[in-house]
Symmetry: C2
């Protein structure tokens, strides 16, 4: 189970072929051109990601508008106004239909066409950036399914958000553009060939994820920090710079498109703040700080409980609903449950507000007076994102305490059962929504008790509550705080309360369990490298975690030996050794490392010493890049027959400078090296440079 | 000359003693305690840095207020109003006096007490964070001189800012607190002993620099990014997290203190935006983007010219004004020149504005009508920072074109001759001021030509001009853009124009020369590691840059050999070798590396094999830490006499896991390793693990 994921090669293989290419580039000023092209690609990534995000955004908005407008008029038509015995059955059925059908479509597409698109996408992108290859994660097909999936699910009214999928979309766009080819369309545009390796691709995906965050939240700096927090193993100024540009371009494009769409001129479309801009600077008093901290603690507790509950539900699910049709049904059931709960709330809670400084765009009259609207329906008759916005910005007194309390509980449970369904939905917005609801609730309760406490601005507490709940569920502190700041336009001076809430939530939550993304990653057995070596490895040496005996290959080895090794074991890297007595390869002196993919290409193209004159001229590093990223398997190599005893000379193909450590080096030390350099294989040698063992990502996690 | 700087050891020496300590920590849960203490220190750094910054701020403000109030009344008293023949001689003399005296004090202190405090401090902090030990840079004495120096110079009216020194102050605070001892006060508080090594200290200084930026600009995220852009070699989430906390705490403290000082309640003191908050969101039209880019190009050109001119002036200076008294005189002369030019401007340019929506706090009437004030005097009768604020926020029509044009030229030249004087002054504010002036000028000129172009908001163009000029002079793009955003409170949507201006300025400027900080660093021959390997090293292998023969020490070597080696050569690291035939050490097998400082401690404390029973018990890693950071020199070791032939066994002292590379590894590759791991020495070995050469920071730069 643990072996279904392979790693990316962030370490560049500087073999002879690579050096030759470098030299030729030196001559023809190729490197300047590559440099410029790289910039252009980053800019393109920003633009296209934003366009996709906008499209998703606008389609969701339009369809939701249609849906809720229709429902509103249906309610109004069917309820005999002012008589509390109106007939809600028909609108309820309509609502059920308009929720179940889109959800069924979305869940069906995800389940039957591309299951990898289920969920938020952030855990997958995070794993990818950490260096784990997740199959099919950056394909165009994935992008298409994910986009349609997220639109249908949000329109269907599930308790989820579009942000995670948008970030995933950014990653796909980045991988797609930078490679200049698409597996889905079986099309190779023969451009950007120089960027076809894991190292370059991962850098682009970093930019794509940043552009995605930027487009999802209108938060360019938050986007860059998100990428950094989740990904970059070492800080490379140029890379960060390009990432920032991608995310700025993305937010600018978003601005242009949305301004045009909303018919606003002057490029100050505040829809970029997609959680709504706080117009007046939020102020706070010193004595509120402990309160913020308490909210943080509460967020941590609720978040940890949410994560626990969600994990249990998902365990239950994967045990009892293994079949595909069942998964679709489940999603539809949750949608129906949501609608039913909402209807019940609207029906039983009587919360009428005067129309006027009316914060909602679909005021439903229902059983209210003529100049009033139903505040409960207002919470439900819009997308979750719009509800967050409402909770942040509604004037004080827009809700009843009971309404919000019930809403919080209902939405908490709904979002908990939604995340993990086979639909493309993120967890950011529902989490923020729950947090905003109880944050506002706390302010309202306190204000009820201390009516003279003017500082209890409910919108402010909704924001703090959202931050606390997000901190408790996601545990991403740095980027989250910046994203929240950028997406609500609060001032730098309010950064401190936000951070207080976030950090207390994170610390309290961390005491109980992991963040939700990390939980998903763990449940899927993805070998993610943590930030620091696991505590149990303190005080150990390489000896304790290395694998041996190591399967090695001689610098000049027989074709059939390689062929057999590739068949027999599924390792991806083999140390190349020299100075071997007979066949005792695993005692040889290390002189390099070679990857399985390279060996397969060598066998496929018959790059043997004996027929060197046939291939020596035209074999370049491009020969190897051309098959990237889907290398053929060893099964596709025909039996060697006549070439059985031919010799392979690895000296020009292998990576001659693998990173080596000593048997007695401490694990924390080699972990840092492994992580900082983004390695895939680490060779352990003794004082005579003879191989002692090999360490991969897996050994740091599971041993 | 190039050898006056040594490097920091960012790589932890994991020798036997260290391992022992680790094991004992594992037992007594020491590591949790260390962890918490580390957090507390970062918080303290934030608080104290902010308090120092506030103090500097407030003292400057109060003194300037006094000074300019006095000058104003002196002008008003002496000028017979409405007669253009008023007597300006006395006010001029007063002004001269009130400028020359503080500047003389500041320059005198810097020159005679602590010359390292001259200039901005950012280049030094940058070098330190890059891994170069700059002597005396983080001492308390340096901090004191720098603080008083910056106050006197700004009050004296020199064309400089307090921001650079504040950042430097943050670094000193960080180093001071984290080490729990001070060389200046010859006082060891015996606390925080576990943090006494270069690695920990550098991490704290990173936080200190961030806190400094945060306090100087009220820009917490900018502070964190500044530290990252300038420093961190690899991205460690925990470190970044602590850095962010330090800078947030710092900006929060600043907020509290300044709110209290200004008597504002509610913690929304906008003085945090120390370049003034733009109240209305800045808007822009698409067709302005090329204009912004043009401004950027202009900024690049002007910045490059400024850097060139400044370097020439400084070369001239160091050639012709070598004596200390001369340097003080020079500073005074520049101050006098400034005052004279300002007076001349005020005298000859007749720019009267109606009082009323009066943007200046010291309106000088001078030769104007009774209800008018002199707009030229308004530019000069305040600190440069206040002038930047004025240029950003003054309503359209506050200045004449001629005034601003002359002002730009005068200030450009003044700031150019100021930076490099022996005073503690940064370059940020004057650069921003020049940029704001010509930015505003451009808008005014364009508006003069196209009076119907309403988009030509002069404040907006002043901001873009400031960004462009800063980009052209400093070339720090990422953090600069965020700092500008945070310190003026502009919205995310205006990020794009800022970046366009900054990036075009940087690219144009980079075509001509380096940023001013890098120029200073280069002029001082500091061996800074660049971000990428220098282009001329592309295609080379380690062979090309390594030093050999390498001075090595045997694993068990004679005391007198070590003694002599330390006397004979001044290297700081020596490979430890084994398996040596006779005395041919430089052909031995590498088994570790030992630092000069460790060897000296060994000799000083007589840690020989022969008397092992006397010291073995009480020698721990603390023995070595106690002498940190000012290790005794070899001269302080008494001649060995009787112990001449004693043996030193290095196996428990040396670092047993030095990073090793192969002779044929490419230079870009080993450069990346060197930088990512923050190394000091890199050993080059052959396939038998025998030493082939050694590479240090210097070899990547000067070979
Ligand atoms: N050439 C080898 N010889 C012996 N053991 C190996 C070799 N390569 C890897 N291993 C070990 O096999 C186990 C599983 O290897 P793993 O699948 O992680 O390696 P990989 O497939 O080469 O790399 P990755 O999966 O990270 O892409 C690990 O414990 C690893 O140490
Ligand atoms: N042990 C050694 N034997 C021979 N050459 C050395 C040795 N150590 C350093 N060198 C070389 O001497 C030159 C100057 O060394 P340098 O002063 O940079 O080393 P260091 O003082 O040990 O380290 P640093 O100055 O970076 O703290 C460099 O070219 C370096 O390669
Ligand atoms: Mg594997
Ligand atoms: Mg040296």
């Amino acid at each position: 189970e643990q072996t279904q994921y392979e790693s990316l090669d962030y370490d560049v293989c500087e073999n002879k072929l690579f050096q030759d290419e470098q030299l030729s580039r030196l001559r023809d000023r190729f490197s300047l051109r590559t440099h410029i092209i790289r910039w252009i690609i980053f800019i393109l990534i920003g633009i296209i990601t934003a366009v996709i995000a906008c499209t998703i955004d606008i389609v969701i908005e339009e369809l939701s508008e249609l849906k809720y407008n229709f429902l509103k008029s249906s309610v109004d038509d069917n309820v005999t106004v002012n008589k509390s015995g109106g007939d809600l059955a028909l609108p309820y059925l309509w609502w059920l239909l308009l929720s179940a059908v889109p959800v069924a479509i979305g869940a069906g597409m995800v389940t039957y066409i591309e299951p990898i698109t289920a969920g938020s996408g952030i855990p997958q992108v995070k794993s990818y950036l950490n260096g784990v290859k997740i199959p099919r994660i950056v394909r165009v097909k994935t992008l298409a399914v994910k986009s349609i999936g997220v639109i249908t699910s949000v329109v269907g009214g599930l308790a989820g958000g579009k942000e995670g999928p948008m970030i995933h979309a950014g990653a796909v766009v980045a991988a797609g553009i930078s490679q200049g080819k698409s597996t889905t369309f079986v099309k190779d545009f023969h451009i950007f060939k120089a960027f076809r390796d894991d190292h370059e691709k991962r850098d682009f995906v970093l930019g794509g994820a940043a552009a995605g965050v930027s487009a999802a939240f209108g938060a360019p700096i938050g986007g860059m920090l998100f990428s950094l927090e989740e990904a970059a193993s070492f800080w490379n100024q140029n890379l960060i710079w390009r990432t920032l540009i991608a995310s700025i371009i993305s937010s600018f494009t978003l601005n242009i498109v949305l301004s045009a769409y909303h018919g606003v001129s002057g490029l100050t479309f505040t829809g970029l703040f997609n959680l709504g801009k706080f117009d007046h600077p939020l102020t706070f008093e010193y004595f509120e700080l402990p309160l913020f901290m308490l909210l943080g603690v509460m967020g941590g507790l609720m978040g940890a409980a949410w994560n626990f509950l969600n994990t249990q539900i998902n365990k239950f699910r994967s045990r009892f609903v293994p079949w595909r049709a069942g998964k679709v049904c489940e999603a539809v059931l949750v949608a129906i449950l949501g609608v039913t709960l909402a209807c019940a709330m609207i029906y039983y809670i009587n919360d009428c507000r005067p129309l006027g400084n009316d914060p909602t765009i679909h005021p439903v009259q229902l059983f209210c007076e003529d100049n009033e609207y139903n505040a409960v329906a207002a919470l439900w008759f819009q997308t979750p994102e719009a509800t967050v916005r409402a909770l942040f910005h509604d004037p004080p007194g827009s809700h009843k305490i009971l309404t919000l309390a019930v809403f919080t509980i209902v939405y908490y449970l709904l979002s908990c059962s939604t995340f993990g369904l086979n639909v493309s939905l993120g967890v950011f917005i529902p989490t923020a929504l729950v947090g905003a609801a109880w944050g506002r609730l706390v302010a309202m309760l306190l204000f009820y008790m201390f009516p003279e406490a003017q500082f209890l601005h409910p919108g402010k507490y909704a924001l703090i509550g959202a931050a606390a709940n997000l901190g408790g569920v996601l545990r991403m502190t740095i980027s989250l705080s910046v994203i929240l700041m950028e997406t609500t336009g609060v001032e730098t001076s309010f950064f401190f309360p936000l951070i207080i809430a976030l950090i207390s939530a994170k610390w309290v939550g961390d005491y109980f369990n992991d963040g939700i993304y990390d939980t998903v990653i763990e449940v899927n057995h993805v070998p993610m490298l943590p930030w620091e070596p696991l505590p149990q490895y303190k005080g150990l040496t390489a000896q304790a975690i290395l694998s041996k005996p190591v399967v090695c290959i001689k610098l000049r080895d027989r074709a059939h030996y390689i062929y057999e090794v590739l068949h027999k074991c599924n390792h991806n890297g083999f140390p190349v050794v020299d100075d071997v007595e007979g066949d005792r390869r695993s005692e040889g002196r290390v002189c390099g490392i070679i990857l399985r993919s390279q060996l397969i290409v060598i066998l496929l193209k018959s790059l043997y010493v004996e027929n060197q004159r046939f291939w020596q001229q035209e074999t370049t590093i491009q020969t190897f890049r051309d098959v990237y990223p889907r290398y053929p398997s060893i099964q596709s190599v025909k039996p060697l027959d006549r070439k059985f005893n031919y010799t392979v000379d690895l000296s020009m193909f292998m990576n001659p400078s693998p990173v080596r450590v000593n048997t007695y080096d401490s694990v924390p030390r080699i972990f840092n090296i492994f992580r900082a350099l983004g390695l895939r294989h680490l060779l352990v040698i003794n004082n005579e440079n003879r191989i002692e063992g090999i360490i991969t990502r897996r050994d740091f996690i599971y041993k």
